[in-house]
Symmetry: C2
Subunit: 200 residues, 2 copies
């Protein structure tokens, strides 16, 4: 090694492929996209992808794993960075909204293509997702102590659904969309759970 700036070129290749594949998977579904389509999307054609990935399944696996990791890391960071629970909850919401608005394709793929994962990959992704949900559950329960855990979990999933709806609507400009989703998410939690974390 010893190469100073050798990697970006190589890493970029894989990432470029993953990005293109994500876009295609989101639009047409995993099985609706051929290996040739993915290749064509990055200018090479067909089996050349096997220089970069072991299989088509491996692409999806890596894609979903990295999404789940990013989501979890971001969530943990936001919570750690903000002192009180109420603020943490607002930060979590903002984080998830930003993610969904910036990478709608990734959100779509993660939701729609869990079933197409290899068993071990699915286990990994599921585990990461569970931990992310737990971050939300804990934060929710700190702002609303008497909410029981199952309810908090269901509420968290509901908020994910709300925010992840973004790929289906989209025809608002980014800032308006972010504001709308954040407000709705916060309101759905504050207004519906016992002991709202906000106004009395």
């Amino acid at each position: 090694m010893g190469g100073v700036s050798a990697e970006p070129a190589k890493q970029t290749r894989r990432d470029q492929i993953l990005a293109a594949a994500a876009e295609l998977f989101a639009r047409h579904g995993f099985h609706g996209v051929g290996i040739d389509d993915i290749g064509a999307a990055v200018g090479i054609s067909g089996p050349a992808l096997y220089r970069h990935f072991r299989s088509k399944d491996a692409m999806l696996g890596e894609m979903l794993t990295s999404i789940s990791e990013r989501l979890l890391d971001g969530g943990l960071n936001r919570v750690a960075a903000s002192g009180d629970p109420a603020r943490a909850l607002r930060e979590l919401i903002r984080w998830h909204v930003d993610f969904a608005l910036d990478d709608p394709a990734l959100i779509t793929v993660q939701i729609r293509n869990l079933a197409n994962l290899t068993d071990p990959d699915r286990r990994r992704v599921r585990a990461l997702q569970r931990r992310y949900v737990e971050v939300w559950v804990e934060t929710i329960r700190k702002t609303s102590p008497e909410v029981d855990e199952p309810t908090a979990r269901a509420a968290a999933h509901a908020v994910f659904g709300l925010i992840n709806s973004t790929p289906h609507s989209a025809h608002l400009d980014r800032d308006q969309m972010a504001a709308l989703l954040s407000q709705m998410a916060l309101a759905s939690l504050s207004g519906a759970l016992p002991v709202p974390g906000r106004v009395s």
Copy 2:
């Protein structure tokens, strides 16, 4: 009504197949389910399905079309049956929540497998969905007149996402889940949009 119970036998066959297929499609995705799997699920095997449907695509088409129709009809009825907009909105929410809780498989299929539809089928389904969204948009705008149409549409999609999250969480009993989702849905609309339809 004269005829007591003549038709169910024949109609039941198709419907039985559609129900089984919906369950399977929801769990494994359209392409993850073979024609043989569907057959096995209703006790017959393989190509026998072609006595009832022209093709596998036709099954999905019929399935999604009927879901969209049921959703739209129910929505229209609920709105028509309830006088003022605020009440209509609550009825719409209840209707959608009940649907999602009673037929989670159908909800999942409708969301995840639009891409697998034939072009004409997709157009049909999309049109029905659009009309259903319009019902919501109109109701929302009647309760909150100064919300512009695009915002109302985005909010409607967000609420759908919230309610449709039900297949992913589920581990609450039905009534609690219904109450939670309804409250969150209403709160997300009331609390986030200008001129909430409820309190002050």
